[in-house]
């Protein structure tokens, strides 16, 4: 169709606006080359140089639209398109964009009286972010895992220097000033302060305390390695300081997976100086005893019970444990979301002289190598080995359900033991798929036993979950310990 043009007399537009229109016109279908410009000598020369042959004289007050068009295009349409842009009504946008908050420093500027940073970014980034949060004078909870022990030590020393609380890394749960952080349950508030070096252990104890009618003042997570030799219980000792001084805390509970001996001794020494009752549970401890103000317990449930008794001024009542001896070819398959539950279950099974295998073995349990060799098996599905890049099974129970299905297919499986963890952070529909899987069971000699960790205050509602599980003949226990004992008795 060749070069076409149109001039508007005495129409002035600034060159930048016209360049924008030119740019739009060049993208218009069928436009091979174009310019929209004031008809000045310079612009005519530019047009010429770009291949638009126009036999026009300069006329600087006129606006020129010139374009080279493909054969099938319609110049009138193109003029209409340009007119729309030339004479468009300007709308003013007075809405201020809200600030993009991409860093902790910016967040602190926005919420200048913030006092805690909850960090759940990927572990490799969490160290720097936690350090920045400490620099902003914030207490810090690091939910992220995959932080090296050296980095953990560095962060904890920095926090101590600044008189700040650093929970984690790999701190899954905490309740601060009554508010649940990360994976935490809604519990009754009260005057029992919990220090937990394990996530689900803390959840189980805080839920049990709440379900037993007492309440929580604070639940402080330390991260699973705090009682390692290298870390030296920096956070645990700092948390003891805080709870010792906290007037709302009458009773202190300390829970940990098996600690380094020397560090445990250091913590116990410190606790002896506290003028409050203390309950200590190191997973794997098999004796109930008292030293000064400290009560050592044998299970998470017992920990909660003793703490409630002390807190409410009752006489402590602990039951003697019955010794179960199981010798049978019928197998127990325990499939856990909670790591501490898995450890506690192994301990109880070993005491019953079971030969067991686990992906996270304790004491003389065998290491799982992809095959459970017809042994009693204890799986921590939250371990990296099983998450397969999916979220933790508490958030997404898919892999856990798949494992339950797999174990159901093994004829030697007599009991499937599992846990359901409720609360914030956990799946909102933790058992929907599982109930269907269990319903599909046709074997009358296969039993299901479950512990539901949660409270009726939780969004998922503990009572409702228990009812639904009971309807498909799952034996629901009131604690992990009880669930394990029930499972063992069914072998």
């Amino acid at each position: 169709m060749g070069v076409m043009y149109k001039s508007y007399k005495n129409l002035y537009k600034d060159s930048v606006s016209l360049m924008q229109i030119s740019a739009a016109l060049l993208n218009y279908e069928g436009v091979l080359n174009a310019t929209v410009a004031m008809q000045t000598e310079a612009n005519l020369q530019r047009a010429q140089a770009s291949g638009l042959n126009l036999d026009l004289k300069e006329s600087p007050n006129d606006l020129l639209i010139a374009c080279e068009l493909a054969d099938d295009s319609n110049f009138d349409e193109i003029i209409a398109f340009v007119d729309d842009k030339l004479f468009a009504k300007v709308t003013t946008d007075n809405t201020k964009k809200s600030r993009h908050i991409g860093s902790i420093a910016q967040a602190k500027e926005e919420l200048d009286d913030a006092n805690l940073a909850l960090i759940s970014v990927a572990g490799r980034y969490a160290i720097a972010e936690a350090l920045k949060a400490l620099g902003q004078n914030l207490n810090v909870m690091i939910f992220s895992d995959n932080v090296s022990e050296d980095d953990e030590l560095m962060l904890k020393q920095e926090a101590k220097k600044r008189d700040l609380l650093l929970m984690g890394p790999d701190c899954g749960t905490a309740i601060i000033n009554g508010k649940p952080l990360a994976f935490a349950n809604r519990v009754n508030l009260g005057s029992i302060g919990v220090i937990g070096a394990s996530g689900t252990g803390t959840q189980e104890v805080t839920c049990a305390i709440s379900n037993l009618g007492a309440g929580i003042s604070q639940a402080i997570g330390t991260g699973g390695r705090d009682l390692h030799e290298k870390i030296g219980a920096i956070t645990t000792l700092y948390a003891i300081d805080l709870l010792e001084q906290d007037e709302k805390t009458k009773t202190i509970v300390v829970i940990s997976k098996p600690p380094a001996k020397s560090i445990a001794a250091k913590v116990i020494e410190r606790l002896k100086q506290v003028k409050k009752d203390v309950v200590v549970h190191f997973v794997g401890n098999n004796d109930f005893y008292q030293e000064n103000n400290i009560y050592f317990t044998r299970s998470l449930l017992e920990t909660a019970k003793v703490a409630c008794d002390l807190n409410q001024g009752r006489k402590i009542s602990v039951q003697d444990k019955e010794q179960i001896n199981v010798s049978t070819d019928r197998l127990l398959k325990a499939i856990y979301c909670g790591g501490t539950f898995c450890a506690e279950a192994q301990n109880l099974a070993l005491k019953a002289n079971l030969k067991i295998v686990s992906n996270v073995p304790i004491d003389n349990a065998c290491k799982y190598d992809g095959n459970d060799h017809d042994m009693h098996a204890f799986f921590d599905m939250g371990d990296d080995e099983f998450t397969n890049g999916r979220p933790h099974p508490m958030i997404d129970p898919f892999e856990r359900n798949a494992m339950i299905k797999k174990q159901m297919e093994n004829e030697k499986t007599a009991v499937i033991l599992f846990d359901v963890v409720l609360g914030y952070g956990a799946s909102l529909n933790p058992i929907d798929d599982l109930v269907e899987i269990i319903k599909s069971n046709t074997r009358s000699d296969l039993n299901f036993v479950c512990n539901v960790c949660g409270t009726d205050l939780d969004i998922q509602n503990r009572e409702d979950i228990i009812n639904r599980l009971s309807q498909v003949n799952v034996k629901v226990a009131t604690s992990n310990e009880q669930a394990v004992m029930t499972a063992l008795s069914l072998l």
Binding site: L111, I127, E129, L181
Partner: protein, 462 residues
Amino acid sequence: MNNLFSQELKVISSGLHDFATNLQQEQVSVCEVDFAPTCNANQEDALALAKLMQSEKVKQANEIAAERYLNSNPCLEGVAIASEVIEGLQNTKRILHSGPPIAFEDMCGPMQGAICGAIVYEGWASDVDAAFELVKKGEVVTDACHHHSCVGPMAGIISPSMPVFIVKNKEYGNVSYSNFNEGLGKVLRFGANGSEVIDRLNFMRDVLYVALKEALKLCGSIEIKPLIAQALSMGDECHNRNAAATGLLLKILAPKLARVKDGDKALEFISANDHFFLNISMAACKCMLDAAANVKNSTMVVAMARNGVNFGIRVSGLADKWYQAPANFIKGLYFPGFSEADANPDLGDSAITETAGIGGFAMAAAPAIVKFVGGTTQDAVQNSINMQEICLKEHPSFNLPALNFAGSACCIDILKVLDRNVLPIINTGIAHKQAGVGQIGAGITNAPLDCFINALRDFKEE
């Protein structure tokens, strides 16, 4: 002792969105961080950044550097022939160029063309081809303007017999220089080097310079900061738009030029070029920022400059070293007949204006050119607001009417750039990649992230 338990819990949450939502359901005040990995997701760099952010020494050093910048008082003292005042241009066939230093063979087309043009202008070679041979043989050497207290827009060419502005810092005594702005059309700074270019350069030396020299003697010292401040309230950002500032300067110069020989020609020349003030603005910015350079432990940026191949920054606490990355292309609008395919990457020392908190940082002041940044005045305001994220100060006298007269953000901190993932924005002209074609558009670009990461890696707290 930590009194967390006696306060209302208020949380900053970085990471899983659900955690923030859950807390909000429990009536906790939460500010959520939209986290993205810093430092190109390099863990070591991110940790080094976090550690430096803790440093009190760095904070104190930045305060000193920023104060020196803010206290500076750059004044136009006069004009001179470059070799009279710049030691590096005495007794040596040396030509200065924009950006970080670069070997001649690695330079972009416009810069090579401009250097050859300057050699012809100096009379060291009879034509451009001969000039090319001279510089290839090493008989003419090149160096960065910044190494000689100079700055120049685009190719930034300063050769010994070119006239320069002398800008002196009345507070600290340091001096900086810039060449004269040639105006539009075929010009050396875009790599043109034909006879009309040389003729214009000759005119600038033989007529304009002589008249200006006399007129400036009559004016006495001219403070530059008030001119910039005034121009910001008149629609300039003093990088891509200098219409108001040039007018203000002309107002001072005109009565004096009217009294000197060839004053009419000088007045005509200046009046025809809205960007005449740009080079003075640049020299003043350089002058203020040089005063903030070399403060031990300071992470403040004291120069950003581009040679058309690489973008370089200098950081106060890192002496005179350059930290470089490939220069970006410019997002912008093109003159008819040109497109991004014709464009040279980012070029020129003029990013010294952004380093000093004007130019792109003061975009809110210049609604007339906001369309270069893709749209509305609101976008321009937003750009100026965004730059507050990465700066240590708001300038007390460079006020932006559109931001309720808040000061323009100034004193860029590399730590803030990296922590907040916000890059300095730069308003700039676009040069054709071939020497001599000239300006083909204008737009905005960013300083590349890698410059800041490279500087971070070299930074050691002392």
